[in-house]
Symmetry: C4
Subunit: 193 residues, 4 copies
Amino acid sequence: MGKTRLEAFSDGVLAIIITIMVLEMKVPHDATLSALMPIVPVFLSYVLSFLYVGIYWNNHHHMLHACTRVTGPVLWANLHLLFWLSLFPFATGWMGENHFAAIPSALYGVVLLAAAVAYWLLQQAIIAAQGKDSILRHAIGSDWKGKVSPLLYLVAILLTFVAAWLAQLVYLAVALLWLAPDRRIERVIKHDA
Amino acid sequence: MGKTRLEAFSDGVLAIIITIMVLEMKVPHDATLSALMPIVPVFLSYVLSFLYVGIYWNNHHHMLHACTRVTGPVLWANLHLLFWLSLFPFATGWMGENHFAAIPSALYGVVLLAAAVAYWLLQQAIIAAQGKDSILRHAIGSDWKGKVSPLLYLVAILLTFVAAWLAQLVYLAVALLWLAPDRRIERVIKHDA
Amino acid sequence: MGKTRLEAFSDGVLAIIITIMVLEMKVPHDATLSALMPIVPVFLSYVLSFLYVGIYWNNHHHMLHACTRVTGPVLWANLHLLFWLSLFPFATGWMGENHFAAIPSALYGVVLLAAAVAYWLLQQAIIAAQGKDSILRHAIGSDWKGKVSPLLYLVAILLTFVAAWLAQLVYLAVALLWLAPDRRIERVIKHDA
Amino acid sequence: MGKTRLEAFSDGVLAIIITIMVLEMKVPHDATLSALMPIVPVFLSYVLSFLYVGIYWNNHHHMLHACTRVTGPVLWANLHLLFWLSLFPFATGWMGENHFAAIPSALYGVVLLAAAVAYWLLQQAIIAAQGKDSILRHAIGSDWKGKVSPLLYLVAILLTFVAAWLAQLVYLAVALLWLAPDRRIERVIKHDA
């Protein structure tokens, strides 16, 4: 009960985040191909962030599917996750406009890291609300992706001090890791149904 | 009947308000940490307002849950509340960009005060629509938080003439006061169900 | 069937229109009351347009309630209405920033007029889809408000050549005329149910 | 299952795209008719793109109606489509502000082409999820519109090197071709129901 509205609000915020990011690609004044060039890195950072928001929407979708009770902590953990995701447009824009420079790339990693932690907290809140026989705990299993991602973000943040493009590589690798929807949850739900 | 669409529209507006506020954090041109410094107060004011919109969404969610009939006055009281909440991005941006100066902090308090009054009016409209045995009136009880908050906002507005940071302290205190979801309504609904 | 998504999409667009209009109120750089002064007319035009979008949402809500079949023409008449409503932020901003000057006030009237015509077309499309015993045709009765409003907008547009504030008066008067939700539809639905 | 949320998220993104495009029409500073003139091409490009997004929403609506199972590939094909549609505001703004110059018109065609391919991929993903007796495959029949549109976009992109207004003509023609909702799907669903 109340889950529908939680999903609707999250969908709204995620839909706006994903679309607002595109506003960082400022329309150039000249009608030449070369006027388009400075926008290429902004475009690439947009693609990366679109991928991430898509992944979050996708997994959020699956996780809430396994959520049977919306409690106060679940509501607030969800808002907490949305808060960090709402910083994506800023972090994406700063990184893109500065052609993936070190410090903006590090900040981008910090936002990714915070969002990953917030996602984990939401997961814990749902599991806690479900009690002992939590279907979600059962579903996520060892949750190795959820555990390894924050570590990889940390590594990427440190790598920006060496070479920023190494960090980008890690960000992309983690995104590809998550690209597959969380089949574990689907499987368990089907099995229990 | 019609409640679903009222919630959907409110969710949409709230989702956009919360996400549009982040646009006040303008992406800096330089890729240095010091270029990020002027954005810190804008970020802090964003955090405060995110908290407030989150609280409003949360309590709006609970209040509409106890709303059994959507009448004309309820529709308009809801739009009236959304109007004041839609001024959050402006008030937040002005306060943040001016590093919590006195007058912008006072205006922020005025918007908070107006939103609190609008919330109370919506509550009254729902209670009036429910008639004598209003489940919502029963649920909110003495409604001390609802009564004390406008007073505290007034105090904070006056405090900006003394020291603006005192007002911020009050704004934060009221937010923390409301952070807990309105369990009263949940309790009564469960009890009646 | 399909009505839910039509409503959801319309709600989304209306929610964004209403919230995007507020972005025309640009955050001033100085933290003084006098820096706020140039924004007052923008704020007033925002209030007027918020009222109008609120009225459209409200009546759209009631009208779709009486809509039993979503046909191709209904879908496109709805998009056509949303198109004109999407011009509200532009017309509102231009009028507000130019302190209700004649030509922007006239353009505002043109957009209001076009939206009113589009609303009427949507109404006709729904009635046509319902066939002979259209519940909506029954519900709107003589539809005097719907007939008189476009005329009043026309008068207001002409009045801008005399004095722009006269046009504003008419815009406000029409808004107040519509403020009451369309009880006719509610009544007929109840009666038929 | 899950289709509701897929539709809700898509509706949200489409609603925001359609409304954000209007922001490219920057409010002019002067209150004269001549100040409005430079905005006319931006307005015309907005009308064209509004038409296209409306068509996509409309057909997306019909296609998902015939979608019985949301699989991982369907989710991602949908996000992929939304990605290309999210580039409409940028492409529209660039084309409008440069008065339909050749290169921006070509880029607009590239975005249209990519969106058309993405739409086709989504269609294939839904058909694959439905298996042998796919209701959607049955419904779209020869899908000549879906096959001819990408070719026409390609022709239009090439035409921009001759004369940009020829490309605009093709874009408009394809839009008019699609304006009619996909009655084939409606027919088949009715027939099967």
